[in-house]
Symmetry: C2
Subunit: 191 residues, 2 copies
DNA sequence: GTCTATACTCTGATAGAC
DNA sequence: GTCTATCAGAGTATAGAC
């Protein structure tokens, strides 16, 4: 329903806009990423952006979805023997794209409003992520978690998000090391 | 330097503005708290607000400072035999003022920019909070932390902030219970 | 379907009158 | 000291050109 043959140009433009938005946000940060700026990079007017995404908030929500797609979030978190490794990989990678961390955190706050287009995104993502982490610990026989899997997953998600806030304000904070110590303390390896 | 005798009216107005802003934000949420809205409640024009605080960002930063003042954050976190109780009290209280939680989280993101007026606020607050928590665990002989006090404090701060993000999107999340379970798992009581 | 031109509203901010 | 009048910029809605 979305793309037939003759809509090829539109689909390409859509992708181009998302990529440009990713680039502008990564480079100039979120606050300077106005519709005008992004439109200028694409070589188009702000209204053209709204033609494809309807609203600025929806555009940014799609940017986050594209990011998850790029990162292959699911396979990385779901497929490993040691579930903590996938999480640590994601955390280390985020260190290299501060603008996207900013966008993610900013929308996480705005999405508190149920009417915000990212509201559903965060609910779904959160659930998927927790299921993957919980399943990982359930599967991993080498560790012995001190908390039930769902609480464990919720705590890890909270720590990862909260450390990002600390890291944005003070980049010397080493997120990966702290999460690693926490996991080892909370789910020690059996022996 | 800030207040001499003849500026009494100005000082009073300043306080009035902060109290009204606290009330409006706590009740109606952050997103509708424009300068115009706040000014309307106080009974002045938006320009009057800027006369006292210079910029919107500085006004909101002062609102957060006033909140800490109201809550008596330091004594609550620093003075107790069991350091976890103070933290849990703060978390439970935050449940009743969602607008302020929203404001706090939003500014925590914006303050990533070192030029933002709240940047220094978050750095200082974060350090004070971690020192209080670390000192509390150091003093508490009934618990045996599995992590060094500073990492412990950083983790608890991150969990508290991260859970607020989850709670804003899904208010059924019980922040206090999760933090309580985490503390018991991470710093079990001796016996 | 794709996009420009234009205009409208709201925002935070400034200059200057009282 | 305080606030009115005004400003430039944001995001958005509409009409209509290609």
């Amino acid at each position: 329903m979305a793309q037939r043959g003759s809509y090829a140009k539109g689909v390409a433009r859509r992708e181009e806009i998302l990529e440009s938005a990713l680039e502008v946000i990564g480079r100039d940060g979120y606050q300077n990423a106005s519709l005008k700026q992004i439109a200028h990079v694409v070589g188009v007017t702000p209204a053209a952006l709204l033609h494809y995404f309807g609203t600025k908030e929806e555009l940014f929500t799609e940017v986050l979805r594209k990011r998850d797609e790029h990162d292959g979030m699911d396979p990385r978190l779901a497929g490993l023997a040691d579930p903590s490794q996938g999480l640590l990989d994601v955390i280390r990678h985020n260190t290299e794209v501060p603008g996207l961390v900013e966008l993610f955190s900013r929308l996480a706050v705005d999405a508190a409003d149920p009417a915000h287009p990212a509201h559903a995104y965060f609910l779904e993502r959160s659930e998927r992520l927790r299921e993957a982490v919980a399943a990982g610990f359930h599967r991993d026989a080498t560790r012995e978690p001190a908390l039930d899997p769902d609480t464990m997953a919720r705590v890890l998600q909270a720590v990862a998000d909260g450390l990002q806030l600390q890291w944005m304000i003070d980049p010397t904070v080493d997120m990966a090391v702290i999460v690693e110590q926490l996991i080892d303390a909370l789910a020690p390896r059996r022996r």
